[in-house]
Amino acid sequence: MKYEIPAEAEERLPAPDTRSGLLSRWFLQRFPVWRTYEHLEGKVVPKHRHSVWYNMGGLALFFFIVQVITGVLLMVYYRPAEPWMSVQRIVMEVPFGAVIRSIHHWSANLMTLALFIHLFSTFFMKAYREPREFTWLSGALLFAVTLVFGFSGYLLPWDDLAFFATRVGIAEVEKAPLLGMWLADLARGGPEVTVDTIGRFYTLHVMVLPVTILTIIGLHLFFIQVQGVSEPDFFAALPPEQKKYEKFFSEFMFGEIPIWLCMGALLVAISAVWPRGLSPEADPFGSAPAGIKPEWYFLSQFQLLKLFPGKIEAVGMFLWTMIPIGILTVPFLDRSIPADDRGRLVTKIGIVALLGLLLFTVWGGLS
């Protein structure tokens, strides 16, 4: 038995004797989603001078899509049993393998960067306040998963840079109280980084994390579709006739396409100018290569921990841990709309945290 088409839909659908009229009726008789359609159709994005930040989440999604495509392509030739040899083959023998690998590398970096910007722009526009606490928390989780993605993917080529960076990175995990040692051993598959670690990281990188991140992205987008885009205080305070909106479907989305394309061109351009190299195969018993450093998104933490050597290292760990704790608790600490004194204090703390991150990252990069 087919579903009935609601009367309000009947009024708005194209005439039944046209192709589009027939097709839309055919669809609605099988999937009664008219209400959902109306809801999505009514979804709007505020237009104001800070609207450009609304594109950042979409950009991160774009880079994620690029990651999926290039990642699948790389998996075709990557073999965890002989990691370095297979990556070497991708770079040296497979046509366009070097460029696809470079795009995967750069897109990962740009995705992390876009998420950083997305996180801070939603933070400063105070989009985490109720009713959007869980959108915020799911976003924070996405960010964390992305960092684990980056960390696990970094090891897979099994060159000396990857090997030692992973060794050092997991050594940081060891220092965490209580579960640290156990977690580190679990990640490495033993007390040392070996080919067993590759198996674990590979499974994580191509199976566990993708499923996880797709689920959370789905939730995150679902929340946004249901709740709509948050309006920053200055916009919400405007009289209704001065508020301008743009329909999410399809104006906002179509407007995003050229920007996505531009980022795609940027990716290809960066990969053309700076292709990702491959260092010599990891030698677990050789000396670490000179100038070894974590990826830029771990640099601030790396630099902060360097400031607190030896016994006071715990202080550095504690300071750094404040950032994720702050991110997780802020929707419950700062709830007033419009922002009150506490809200303004949170903004100031955010600015200090952002400046601190930038400072430590640049400092770490230069030193």
Binding site: L73, V76, E93, V94, P95, F96, G97, V99, I100
Partner: protein, 160 residues
């Protein structure tokens, strides 16, 4: 009104044309992905001297008439045996029907997948195979077996 319709039609035509052009450019843009996924030509099993070493079967295993078995040359399977007149014979072991590796059964060459049968000259005599097996030339040197590609009938004599 009429003018508006005309504009609408020309607009559709224009968009369609642009779309077709876009598809052409798309083809150019994804060509690298196409090349990336296209398999590379398999390495030629025959070396610079036109010969390939036979592995996984030794000359001792084909020393007497009626002895034979499967081996490999390069990346391919091979069937090698000594026939009743004492001549070494070698065939690419890939059955011409569905690609299973055939077996040497003394009197005949037999494929276990679908019952394809060849005689000891590699001719398909029963079952589904459409063509004879590809014969290879064999030389024995210092206890090692080598095969080479046969180009014509005449060379096959010289090889064995």
């Amino acid at each position: 009104m009429k003018e508006a319709e005309g504009t609408e039609r020309s607009r559709r035509g224009f968009l369609g044309f642009l779309g077709a052009v876009g598809l052409g450019w798309l083809a150019a843009a994804i060509y690298p992905v196409f090349r990336y996924l296209s398999p590379q030509a398999p390495p030629d099993p025959f070396g610079e001297d036109g010969r390939a070493l036979v592995e996984k079967i030794t000359s001792a295993e084909v020393s007497q008439p009626g002895m034979g078995g499967n081996g490999k040359y390069g990346n391919r399977g091979l069937l090698i045996f000594r026939n009743q007149s004492g001549t070494l014979k070698a065939f690419d072991s890939k059955c011409t029907h569905a690609g299973c590796n055939v077996a040497f059964e003394g009197e005949r060459i037999y494929c276990h997948c679908h019952g394809g049968t060849y005689d000891l000259e590699g001719r398909n005599i029963a079952g589904p195979p459409p063509r004879p097996l590809t014969e290879l030339g064999v030389v024995e040197e210092d206890g090692l077996l080598h095969v080479y590609r046969l180009t014509g009938g005449g060379e096959s004599e010289a090889g064995s």
